[in-house]
């Protein structure tokens, strides 16, 4: 087992395509999301805790189950690329929760929809434009049409959430100070969205490369830090 493990890594570093390596990467991603989720679940998945925090924790939970499902598909010999599978919904679910938390819970505290913050709303659109540009790259690539459609659904969820992540990083928060406390979390969530798009891009443009591994490892780190960063922010605002 140990020899097999190192054998796969050596083959991969030599440039040989080794599908088995994907399992290790996904396992690392699962472990990172699981640690984040359990830290958050113990603290926030109970009544009388901020709904915002619970939603972020559930979002990380979606990442965790999505990765677990993908690993199981690989182990049971089912395909994970070029077809629709539920593992992709892990990312969609995560960003649906992140979007709901920011849009439904926090946004109205800093933005009344008036002209004062128009500048920040317009700048935040750049997150959507960047995601759309990355998706355009996928559209022009060699991936099958079905994969392009599914990637489109994932891109929409990332774009919608990223708009609010970027907005909550740059918008001034004078009245309540809640968004101020969550800037680090929002920066990490924005980075996670970007990394997810990069992973989809590299997957759509050919196999399992060193670039994709690097992106996946960065995803591990960011998904691990999401809940602690949010927790720190929530503790600051509730002081």
């Amino acid at each position: 087992m140990r020899a097999e493990f190192w054998g796969i890594i050596i083959c991969f570093l030599k440039g040989d395509k080794v599908e088995g390596f994907i399992v290790y990467i996904y396992l690392a991603m699962l472990a990172a999301a699981a640690v984040g989720f359990f830290i958050g679940a113990v603290k926030y998945l109970r009544p009388r805790k901020p709904l915002y925090a619970s939603m972020i924790v559930l979002g990380v939970g979606c990442i965790m189950i999505g990765k677990a499902y993908t690993i199981l598909r690989i182990i049971t010999g089912l395909e994970i690329e070029g077809i629709f599978h539920v593992g992709m919904l892990g990312t969609v679910g995560a960003f649906a929760f992140f979007f709901s938390a920011n849009f439904g819970q926090i946004d109205s505290l800093v933005d009344d929809g008036g002209g004062t913050f128009l500048k920040y709303r317009l700048i935040s659109l750049s997150a959507i434009i960047v995601t759309a540009a990355m998706y355009l790259f996928i559209l022009l690539g060699p991936a099958p049409t079905a994969e392009k459609i599914i990637d489109g659904v994932v891109a929409v969820s990332i774009a919608a959430a990223s708009y609010f992540h970027l907005k909550h990083i740059i918008i001034p928060d004078i009245d309540y100070g809640v968004v101020n406390c969550l800037r680090i979390y929002n920066a990490l969530a924005l980075a996670y969205g970007l990394l997810c798009m990069l992973e989809i891009m590299s997957a759509a443009n050919g196999g399992f490369t060193v670039f994709r591994v690097t992106v996946c490892l960065l995803e591990c780190v960011v998904s691990l830090l999401l809940v602690p960063a949010m927790d720190k922010g929530v503790q600051k605002w509730s002081k």
């Binding site: 109970r46 009544p47 709904l51 619970s54 939603m55 559930l58 979002g59 939970g61 979606c62 189950i65 999505g66 677990a68 499902y69 199981l72 598909r73 182990i75 049971t76 089912l78 077809i83 629709f84 599978h85 539920v86 919904l89 892990g90 969609v92 679910g93 649906a96 929760f97 979007f99 709901s100 849009f103 439904g104 819970q105 946004d107 109205s108």
Partner: protein, 211 residues
Amino acid sequence: MEQISEILFICIVMPMIPMLFVLPDKKSRLFVGYLMVGSLICLMAGALNLFLLQIFNGDMLYVTTTITPISEEVLKAIPVLYLAIFFTDDRETLLSASFALGVGFAILEDAVILAQNPSAISLGWAFTRVVGAALMHGACTAMVGMGMSYIRKRRKLFFCGTVALLIAAILFHATFNVLVQSSFRIAAFLLPMSLYLPVIFYQIRQRKKKK
């Protein structure tokens, strides 16, 4: 027997209808009603899944691990959404009604599997169905019901929050279905337990506190 699902539905669910008129309190009626609705949803899901199986060229493995979790969770969520939108946002009511719906679904599903393949059925099968599939259906629907009680009053949260909850339930259901068909079958039975037990411990503690 071509209409086995319909026959089982009539045999299991129809006797509950007279009971609805006898039950004295509203909550019991709601609970039994949602148990029946769960079985009805199972009947509908069975027909829909057969249709989906035809669309995907009879690829049973792909359909059960990818498509049926979506179709079943969406169908199960509709009555829960109806209850949450038009009648109540009380957490306990939504939780018990949605759990009853999930269990009602599982009861008919178990009965259909049993009737279709009686030679492969054993006591072990029955216990694993109870701990695994029945609890999974209950837990997934209860997850949506519980979540609805938090987001129902917030207009901005309602749509995106419902979608997010549904996706979480679909992921959970699909992971269970893949686990059941893998060599990690035992984990499939631990998965619903991992969601169910913390909720039960919490409820028991809350009840003790109230006393």
